[in-house]
Structure formats: C-alpha cells, structure tokens
Subunit: 78 residues, 2 copies
C-alpha cells in the first residue's frame, strides 16, 4: 500500500473521529469536497500545504498527522 | 512566509547537515536535481510522497521533518 493510500485512510478516520462531513472539512480548509474525497481514497497526492490545512481543521498538529501515517506504514510492513 | 518556503529552508539545512549535494539527494530520492533546487527555494509544493522520500535520504523521520517546519513557523509567528 502506498503512502497516499495510508494518508487517505488516516484522513478519513480523523475526520470521522471529529464527526464532520467531507463538505464541512472542505469548507474549513477552503478546498473542494471532491478533492477531500479523492484524498481519502488515496487518489491524490496531498501537498505539504494541504497537510497543514486539513490538520488545522482536524485539531491535530501536522507532525502528529504524519506520525500516524508513518506508524500505520510500519504496522503494515511487519 | 509560506509553508513551502519554510519547508525549502529546512530541506536545505538538513541536506547541508548531512553533507550531501543536491545531485546526490536527487539520486537517492529518484527525483530530479532541478526539482530539489525548486523545493529548496520554496517554488514547488512537496507532496507527502516527496516528504517521505527526502526524509529517508536525510535520515530523519517524516514526522520529525514536518515538526521542524511547524516549529519554524511558530518561531516566525511570535
């Protein structure tokens, strides 16, 4: 599984944990709803700016977001 | 200063601290030397995949790399 797919899964989990819709998240981040959907499905590469935007909206630091992606990759590599 | 500019500065500092050239870093990451140069000057948006690639080459975890960017932004916001 690729980095962007893991990123997408973590994004969806954090969004659901924050109990907000893709529409709301898109609005908070000034991004398109479709783009959020593509990110969650691992079909787009988030840029560092996007990572900072979605992290802010999801009440997590960008480094903690990336750490979750890292740890998930490690789990899958065992 | 924008996130990508800070990212570029941190990237250059880490590369110099590792004592490797843009050419060598590009080779390790399977990226173009020109692209590394654009990243360091804050002229391109690194994707999460690029962040993982350069972090590996620079012996730092991707989350620690992003943490450095975050802390630098906080310093500048004071």
């Amino acid at each position: 599984m690729m980095v962007i797919e893991i990123f997408g899964k973590v994004l969806r989990e954090l969004r659901e944990a924050n109990n907000i819709s893709q529409e709301k998240l898109a609005e908070y981040c000034d991004l398109d709803r479709t783009y959020i959907s593509l990110l969650e499905r691992g079909l787009r590469q988030p840029t560092i700016t996007t990572i900072f935007k979605v992290s802010k909206a999801l009440n997590i630091s960008p480094s903690d977001f990336v750490l979750k992606v890292e740890l998930r990759i490690k789990e899958l590599s065992i």
